[in-house]
Structures are given as structure tokens and as C-alpha cells.
């Protein structure tokens, strides 16, 4: 009887070790996939992609960096140069591939007539990879009629494109990237890029230049921030707003629409 109990205990111990090893291997695989930016489902895929919200001007991402003009070839055509700097409008660079599943909604969206682009007089330019890295004939077939397209792996490097789909919105006057990143759908991306445009306009506005459009101004944004703070129980004069000292003597110190918290 004792022998049976010992054998069973040993068997349970061995099985526990095997299960532990499998779980550990599974966790290592998940961590490796996460480091590679690969999600296991659509939701985790979306969260692994850099969004324009993360990379907007002033952040540590590509937004705010200098933009560069594009040199490459037209799909099934000859060499071309596309100017995105020193021009009086925005340019939305859409880095797309012929085979990527998540690019499909964007190919479809850009084929719609009168697609609503963020920015001022924005021009859409689809940027594919060189024919050595993607199918030129497939790209030529996918590019909607009337949309400018250029094949340029050099542009993918210049804009640090991590993979497709990826987008960069360039302010042609400033010659800078206003927002960059990705999303799973066009509407989501358009909204995020529009916010990046508004932030850039606000930044220019503080330097005495263009103002953001009505309804998207810094004041309305501040009101939204105040509402969020109030719903979290942080109201005027809340101690957490003044970590270095007491609240100001005059006025409503927590209302960022009137005052900036230093």
C-alpha cells in the first residue's frame, strides 16, 4: 500500500512538473509574440498597433518629426517624385500592402468617392513597397482610380513604418508629421488623425498662428478634461491638483478652461 501511495505521489509530482513546464513555455511564447507586436485576436492586435493618439505631435513617437518627400515608382509605371513638404496642404501617407488582411478596410475606404480626409485640403498618397518586396501588379490593381500611389521602400524606412497598415499625416507647410500610427478601421483612424491635426493647430495657435476649428478648440478640450476630473471626484481645490503646495487664493483653480495648472 505504501509503495502504491509513493508511486502515485511521484506520478502526480511528475505530471505537475510537466504542466508547469508547459505553462511556462506557453507564457514565454506569449511574451515573445507580444514583443514582436503580434496579437492573438483582433482586439489584442488593435492594442498592439501604435495609434495616432499615442504618437501625436510632441510625443516621443514619429509625430512631430521632419517629413521627407517621396521618390519611387508608380505601380506599373515609371519613376516619380511626390512632394509632401513645401506644399500648402496636408498629405495623408497610407502605407499599405497587397496581401495584408488588415489593409483591406482601407483599400475599400479609399475607393469610396469623396472620402473624408482629416486636415486641410488633404491629399491621399498610397505608399507601397518596392516591387522586390510586394506584388506590383496586385498593388496596381488595388489602387483606386484617381488616387496617387508610389512604390518606395525607402519611404517606409524614412517614416519608420513598423508594418502595414500604417499612416502618417504630414503638414506640408511645416514639413512635419502631425500624426502617425495605425488602426483597424478607417473611421477610427480618421478621428484619431483629426485630433492630431487639432492638437497641432492648437500648438500653432499658441504661437500666434492658425486656430483649431470651432468645437475642437483647446477650451472645449479643457472642458472635457474638467468633466472627466469631476466624474473622478477631483473638483476645484482638490489637493491632488497642487502637489507642491496649496491651491491658489483666487478663482477656480481646478478649471483648466480658465487657468493652467502649473
Amino acid at each position: 500500500m505504501t509503495v502504491v501511495v509513493v508511486l502515485l505521489a511521484v506520478a502526480v509530482g511528475v505530471l505537475a512538473l510537466i504542466v508547469f513546464g508547459l505553462l511556462r513555455t506557453h507564457a514565454e511564447i506569449l511574451r515573445a509574440l507580444d514583443r514582436a507586436g503580434i496579437g492573438l485576436d483582433e482586439e489584442s492586435e488593435a492594442s498592439s498597433l501604435p495609434s495616432p493618439d499615442q504618437d501625436r505631435a510632441g510625443g516621443s513617437g514619429p509625430a512631430g518629426r521632419d517629413a521627407s518627400d517621396l521618390a519611387g515608382t508608380v505601380p506599373a509605371g515609371g519613376p516619380t517624385k511626390v512632394a509632401v513638404t513645401g506644399v500648402p496642404h496636408h498629405t495623408l501617407l497610407a502605407f499599405l500592402s497587397s496581401g495584408c488582411r488588415t489593409c483591406k478596410p482601407f483599400w475599400q475606404a479609399f475607393a469610396e468617392p469623396g472620402v473624408d480626409l482629416p486636415g486641410s485640403g488633404t491629399r491621399l498618397v498610397i505608399v507601397g513597397q518596392d516591387p522586390a518586396h510586394d506584388s506590383e501588379s496586385a498593388l496596381a490593381e488595388l489602387v483606386p482610380a484617381g488616387v496617387k500611389a508610389v512604390l518606395s521602400s525607402a519611404a517606409w524606412q524614412d517614416y519608420d513604418v513598423p508594418g502595414s497598415p500604417y499612416f502618417a499625416l504630414v503638414d506640408g507647410v511645416d514639413g512635419r508629421v502631425v500624426g502617425a500610427g495605425s488602426a483597424l478601421g478607417w473611421e477610427q483612424l480618421r478621428e484619431l488623425l483629426q485630433e492630431a491635426v487639432d492638437d497641432a493647430a492648437l500648438d500653432r495657435g499658441t504661437r500666434g498662428r492658425a486656430r483649431p476649428p470651432a468645437g475642437r478648440s483647446g477650451r472645449s478640450r479643457a472642458r472635457r478634461a474638467d468633466d472627466a476630473l469631476r466624474s473622478a471626484g477631483v473638483g476645484p481645490g482638490h489637493p491632488s491638483l497642487y502637489p507642491g503646495g496649496s491651491a491658489p487664493v483666487h478663482g477656480n483653480g481646478a478649471d483648466s478652461s480658465d487657468r493652467r495648472v502649473e
Binding site: 515609371g78 519613376p79 517624385k81 484617381g146 496617387k148
Partner: protein
């Protein structure tokens, strides 16, 4: 400055300008009775505004979108049979164009205020037409010298 080159044609494209080098369809691909072209015939477009994706060889589809400061140029190659004809008698890429040579009756697409110029020439055994449109005839004194700077970067082998 970006340099585009293909089929013996090269152009330096300055900042703020765009360009595209393409070839004309070989008529023998649609008409078996026509001999294939010995080499592709080139079309070069350059402009100081955004070139639309769809436009014809002489800029219809593009010139309508440019403002009064716009400049569009097309270099269109003709078949070797044109070399030696009176129309293409001039030799070499023109060094500079004169503002006074621009006129509204030179336009392929008539747009009020625009002015154009057509210059035919040959380089060795190749015949070309250089067609230039400016967005404002009254500003030809400014726009034509600006185009001449781009023209100085055009070469044909």
C-alpha cells in the same frame, strides 16, 4: 533635390516640385499591323503643384487644378520618323524660355488667365515637344524664370 531618370531622360526635381516619368503605350500591343517601337517613347511631367493621378500627356486633368502661381510642363517624345522634319528642326534641349513667348493661344486646355508655350526639338535621333503652362499670363515674368531653373536640370542622352 531628387533626380529622376529613365530611358535616357533625366531631370533634377527641386523641393516643392513633383515629377513623373512614364512611357507611351506601344501601338503594336493593340494593333498587330503596326511595327513595335524600337524603344519606348517617353512622357515626362513636372509641376510645382500636386500632380493628379489621372491626366493626359499634355496635362489635361492637371492644369485645371493649378492656381495662378502654378507651372506645369510636359516633355512628350515623338517617333524617330519626326526627326529631320521642319517642325523638329531645332536641336537640343532649350537652355531657357522667354516669358514673351508664352501666350493663351498655345494652350492645349484653354483656362482663363493661363498661358502656354510649345517648343519642338530633337536630340540626336529622338524628337520631342516641350509643352509648358503657367497659371497666370500676367505673372509670366516671375513664373517663366522659375521654370527655367527646373529646365536647366533636364537632360536627354
Amino acid at each position: 533635390m531628387t533626380t529622376l531618370a529613365a530611358h535616357g531622360v533625366s531631370i533634377d526635381v527641386p523641393a516643392g516640385w513633383e515629377a513623373e516619368l512614364s512611357t507611351q503605350p506601344d501601338p503594336s500591343t493593340v494593333d498587330q499591323t503596326v511595327d513595335p517601337l524600337p524603344s519606348p517613347l517617353v512622357v515626362l511631367h513636372t509641376a510645382n503643384f500636386s500632380l493628379p493621378a489621372e491626366r493626359d500627356d499634355y496635362g489635361a486633368g492637371a492644369v485645371e487644378t493649378m492656381d495662378r502661381n502654378g507651372i506645369f510642363a510636359a516633355l512628350v517624345e515623338f517617333g524617330a520618323a519626326s526627326v529631320g522634319t521642319m517642325l523638329f528642326a531645332a536641336q537640343g534641349v532649350p537652355g531657357r524660355l522667354a516669358p514673351e513667348d508664352f501666350a493663351s493661344d498655345q494652350l492645349n486646355v484653354a483656362v482663363p488667365g493661363h498661358a502656354g508655350l510649345q517648343h519642338f526639338f530633337h536630340v540626336d535621333a529622338r524628337a520631342f515637344c516641350l509643352y509648358v503652362v503657367i497659371g497666370s499670363h500676367s505673372r509670366r515674368g516671375v513664373l517663366v524664370p522659375e521654370f527655367n531653373r527646373v529646365l536647366s536640370g533636364l537632360s536627354i542622352a
